[in-house]
Symmetry: C2
């Protein structure tokens, strides 16, 4: 088993361990019981996890109250789902002595994490991420959030998990499109922080696409290591943690504009190419670098241009509403070169004019 | 002007100032502008404050986007109101560069504070409490919370304000019942922390009931001083801060059971007498002490027994759902004597059996 300790300096001193090992899901409830003595577990998961058999594996015959999110997916990542979960816990007399066990992808983790953050001013949560995206990204860092009827992640809180358990075997039941799209967050980590990791991706693309367990553990560990290092330095995203938004500003807008027909990772792939075009405009990247990144994304089966059916002018309006927008326009994260995020005057996100973004969207 | 600095050690280092002075409401927006440069103010208030003319005084002719909670009062302290406020801000393109200005009583402060805590993972909030309860209690300490359809304060977060502005003139437009009920939190502070303050209440009851400005400033300052001292030591209510729940466990249950026909302070008055009866049972208080407390509460026009129409057996079920309940039963805060909360083995809240509470409810 690979363990990684994450220490969050802000808030009350908080540290937790990320456990990474294949075929360990059936032991997690016993671990939670040891980790949180006297707490009652309440599982939050979704219909997909039930279908894939992972809830059954987690329960191992035990009877633990469970909320199953339906339908699975982004559409349920809404404040109404959080309210429904909390009212379900209340009806079953769950109180502050509850530990929420979140089994699922980023959507489940976000919903369950946010429910834990705001239930009776905060209870504990353990994350069991089961997708490429959530194992790479959303299970580390304590960001939780759900959507309003107006925009994505309108509601949210920083709330650190008590522990994270990653069993890469759960990735083997993902459908191919979801599996591949989830790898984009790993590519993002390589681009902002580790050029060797980018090379590992290029060298091992076949084993990755075949879901080889050893390669998957290596990816999970690299992602958590990179993310944890960034989050430890800047848990509440005052500055450096913004690098994790690489590709996400345009990516989120494209995702929203597609009516969520694009998966998050697919939209972020387009956003990464968008960031690459901005870098190219600024003279930070040459054609060769941009082509190498596009090549890897294409090998993963990702789109690298905005689908025709999306109105590019509408994207600018969506970007204005970005949650990171200050005075109706967000700052952008860029890279100096593969493996190195760009920092200007101590700032990890920079002003890019609306005009330049408009120009880039035309080319994208 | 009396200023009081509050320093919260948990979370990121955070300190803020409570400004106490009569007739200063019309200058608060200019102060907020200086305090939060570059932030856009968004006012949250309710219908009562509009009627009383306080919103007009705050605005002083300025045009600041405002959400007016309707109807005023506990019934609107619901997650749905928070969702409506946040969606209103989003539609008006308010982002992370927003400072919410909460003008009103504890309900407005709770709703607006919680909205600030969860909007885009947290924005700034300035509190302008305008009632006896909120000036005494809810504006200091960073607790925010709203109700679900099942119970009170099911949703909540700890979220410290950027500053608090107390203008005691706003108390003069309160109706008499609300004004008096709000003083119960002040009596609570005296009981748990300051016997001189209790004596001040007994000695100045006429001036208090006549709403003399000097006496009101003295009360506001004493309350904030006591509350701040407790909150600084224990911001997230791990232990000592629990003393602020004196009278609230039974009080909340009575308030809920009355269908909110009782005001919060009226219910807490009954809860304080309930706590007194428990102390009497335990041999901590004699009849004389209990009578003195009851006498003061009666002078304030408070009920000191459970209204006949409330089913006492139902109260036990409500107490089980108390947000502080562990294993379906909360601990209770008691006093050693007037001015001194009880601490047993380092714990400020203690186990009291269901049987004893049942016995006490019969007498109450």
């Amino acid at each position: 088993m690979k363990n990684l300790k994450v220490t969050i300096p802000a808030g009350e001193k908080h540290s937790y361990t990320i456990h990474i090992e294949a075929d360990t899901l059936n032991g997690v409830l016993a671990e939670v019981d040891k980790l949180c003595p006297g707490k009652r577990p309440f599982i939050v998961t979704d219909k997909n996890l039930v279908k894939a058999g992972h809830l059954k594996t987690l329960l191992g015959g035990k009877d633990v109250p469970t909320y199953i999110i339906e339908p699975a997916g982004e559409i349920s990542k809404h404040i109404n789902t959080v309210v429904a979960i909390i009212e379900t816990m209340e009806k079953a007399f769950f109180g502050r002595d509850t530990v929420i066990v979140a089994l699922g992808g980023g959507t489940v983790g976000d919903i369950a994490g946010f429910a834990a953050a705001i239930f009776k001013r905060g209870i504990e949560v353990v994350q069991i991420p089961t997708t490429t995206v959530s194992q790479a990204d959303s299970s580390v860092g304590g960001k939780t959030g759900v959507d309003s009827t107006i925009s994505k992640n309108a509601f949210g809180a920083f709330w650190q998990p008590k522990a994270v358990y990653i069993d890469v075997e759960t990735l083997k039941t993902l459908d191919d499109r979801q599996y591949r799209a989830g790898l984009v967050e790993s590519v993002k980590h390589a681009l902002i922080a580790d050029d060797d990791y980018f090379q590992f991706f290029l060298d091992n693309i076949d084993a990755i696409l075949q879901r080889d367990s050893d390669v998957l553990e290596k990816i999970a560990f690299s992602n958590c290591r990179i993310k944890a290092e960034i989050v430890e330095e800047d848990p509440t995203e005052k500055n450096r943690r913004r690098v994790c938004n690489y590709g996400h500003t345009i990516g989120h807008a494209v995702e929203t504009a597609s009516g969520f027909n694009l998966l998050h990772g697919e939209a972020v792939a387009i956003g990464i190419v968008g960031a690459g075009l901005i870098e190219h405009q600024l003279g930070l990247a040459d054609n060769e670098q941009l082509d190498l990144i596009k090549k890897l994304l294409l090998r993963l089966g990702m789109p690298v241009t905005i689908p025709k059916e999306i109105n590019k002018n509408g994207l600018l309006d969506i970007i204005k509403r970005d949650k990171k927008a200050v005075d109706k326009w967000p700052k952008f994260v860029l890279i100096e070169k593969i493996g190195t995020a760009r920092c200007v005057d101590g700032q990890w996100a920079q002003d890019i004019s609306k005009e330049m973004v408009k120009t880039v969207l035309k080319k994208l």
